[in-house]
Symmetry: C2
């Protein structure tokens, strides 16, 4: 989420600060009138970024330097740069986040999973180094700080260790808002990377995590905000919300690493991860990046149970069924050959105990993506694994 490589840009889409910010301050950002917002107009951001885009001649020169090594600049999930050393390239991504869950340890893990996810979307499964970026809120008391910050760091670090890498540097500063994020770097040989550009008509689209994390996180906050709770209590009860929130936390903290490994096994043609721009935003971004003249059509929307009802009860606020609700550390959206997709979904469920879904198709088109008029909503239960109860 929220990196320059998501849709060309620049944004802080998921400003759902829990502990440190008053709502008033959040609303100063403008936006959709909810705690979750997308403050930068993509056009504004594109304009801001003009200054650092390479001029074509420079890019050309750079491509030549790279020889046969793939090169990917601003625009997709991670940047890919050829190295001076033949055959190697560096794949890098950076992200940072404003907290959205009230468990600092989980927030650290989620931030780490989200940073790494941009590598995984490129099929890169081995991260060689992580840096941690931490903004310690000036509004925390000493005691809050001494409890919250180490837990968050520990969560981030443990996420890195779980991913087979480690945190070996970073920066921490004081800042009005609490932030946590990092940098993930992999030095790869070409076959380790699946460039997000080879979808062909006949492929299908697979998604590896359910939608609705933002809705769940907001609904959970509203348990303590009677005025807002009243808006949704007719469609959902407290227990539903707690289950959905826990399911969202679990989903956000889960690494997309197995999903990335299996992309190689099942010959994926490209992928992206679903974060701040929502499913449709990222699908459009991925479609735009394809070499072949293809379009994506999405038929199914797997959503954390009850969150569709909550979203509907909030009017047009989340735009969940329009595919525009921001996700944090969402799943991979993968273009797979049709004959491989079912096996992919079966394999990931076998390995991880989590479902994946075929949600759409790739057809001939003009590099756009859309959701059909009445998509089928798949309610993804909080309880998913046998014997495990949220």
């Amino acid at each position: 989420m929220a990196d320059m490589n998501d849709g060309t840009i620049l944004q802080a889409e998921e400003l759902i600060p829990v502990a440190t910010e008053s709502e008033a301050e959040c609303l100063e950002l403008g936006g959709a009138g909810s705690l979750a917002r997308r403050p930068f107009d993509p056009e504004v951001l594109t304009k801001l970024l003009e200054g650092i885009q390479d001029d074509p001649s420079a890019t050309q020169e750079y491509m030549q330097l790279g020889g046969g090594v793939p090169t990917l600049g601003i625009g997709m999930d991670a940047c890919v740069s050829p190295l001076r050393h033949a055959g190697f390239c560096v794949v890098q991504t950076t992200d940072f986040f404003y907290p959205l869950v009230d468990d600092p340890y989980m927030q650290g893990k989620i931030a780490c999973a989200n940073v790494l996810s941009d590598l995984y979307a490129m099929g890169v499964t081995e991260c060689d180094n992580m840096l941690m970026l931490m903004g310690v809120s000036t509004k925390l008391t000493d005691k809050e700080r001494d409890v919250v910050v180490p837990l968050m760091m520990r969560g981030f670090k443990n996420g890195a260790v779980e991913a087979g890498t480690n945190v070996r540097g970073g920066q921490t500063v004081l800042n009005p808002w609490l932030t946590v994020g990092g940098v993930a770097t992999s030095v790869c040989q070409t076959p380790e990377i699946i460039m997000p550009e080879n979808a062909v008509p006949g492929d299908v689209l697979v998604m590896t995590k359910p939608l609705g994390t933002q809705v769940a996180v907001n609904a959970h906050q509203w348990l303590d905000m009677p005025e807002r709770w009243n808006r949704i209590k007719l469609v959902v009860n407290e227990d539903d919300v707690r289950k959905a929130y826990n399911r969202a936390m679990d989903s956000m903290a889960r690494l997309n690493r197995t999903a990335a490994r299996l992309m190689h096994k099942y010959n994926a043609h490209g992928a992206t991860d679903v974060t701040g721009f929502g499913l449709l935003g990222h699908a459009q971004n991925l479609a735009r990046n394809q070499k072949a003249e293809v379009s994506f059509v999405i038929h199914n929307l797997p959503v954390i149970a009850k969150m569709t009802a909550v979203a509907k009860a909030c009017g047009n606020m989340f735009q969940l069924l329009q595919g525009l609700s921001a996700e944090t550390s969402g799943g991979l959206l993968i273009c797979l050959p049709r004959e491989q997709a079912a096996a992919y979904c079966k394999d990931i469920e076998k390995q991880e105990g989590y479902q994946a879904w075929i949600i759409g198709i790739v057809e001939k088109g003009n590099r756009t993506a859309r959701i059909i008029d009445k998509p089928r909503v798949i309610e993804v239960p909080a309880k998913e694994k046998e014997g495990e109860l949220w």
Copy 2:
């Protein structure tokens, strides 16, 4: 400056926001009662970081993995991690800053030079990729934003290009404070790195930029703050301050790359860059990291002209002559064999037109650093190059 690899930690020492923050907000941070502050007590930060330090067994395992490749975690300027590919390691650093000059383009260049400086301090002259981290202040009007942010990005990018690298990714978010920074990554073979640990008694200490950037930046701000200006106007005039400010900007935007190249030519035994902890803080950090039982003794302090007088007129605020005044994008502090040091200084002046100075010696000791009681202050004039006038 301000990275976790500076003195183990975590800090935002040089909070000298010019355009976007009211002084009142800055002062909320606590600290020394000036606009320039060091808000985190190093002990607090060390404690916060405990959660992510490796346990010794894990480190051991990791070292074995690394084989003969040097490994350097949290504590010095950049982290060095062995890669899966034999003989290669990745050297990385990240930093971000609150603006301290009123020219956005120059601020971008300075941030870039400061990020890269941590690689240069390790003797690494080739940066393979940069990411840019930008926090766009929520307090900027649209017009301010559309002018300031692209200029800052352009400055950052041009700094990268000047360094023979490029910005290929990053993240930009909305934040109460304006911030600019980045990540620099180099994939190296061992001989490209000069580990900061091989000083021996008999070496001398060379510094490649003058001190006093923080004093100059503050004095320049005070031109518009009569109450503060009155405190220093007896020792300095407006013209002096503008010259010092321009000299500081020029110095901060200058890359330490030639300084790093020459470290190889003249067999440097290790170096660090002088940033947020001031000359003495970084000297102590470097001394602590030495393999041999050595101490550093500093005799000479090159300071931007008139800034010593300004610092003295401000009482104990800057602690410039104590070596504790924060610098931004300061010079390299290098341990060189005595017989090479003069040639090093001569060579850098020949190549760049900027002086370097022998400022101290390495003697047998317990890995500490100190400044002698009455150090010799070298006034570094604003006008340095023939025919060039600030």
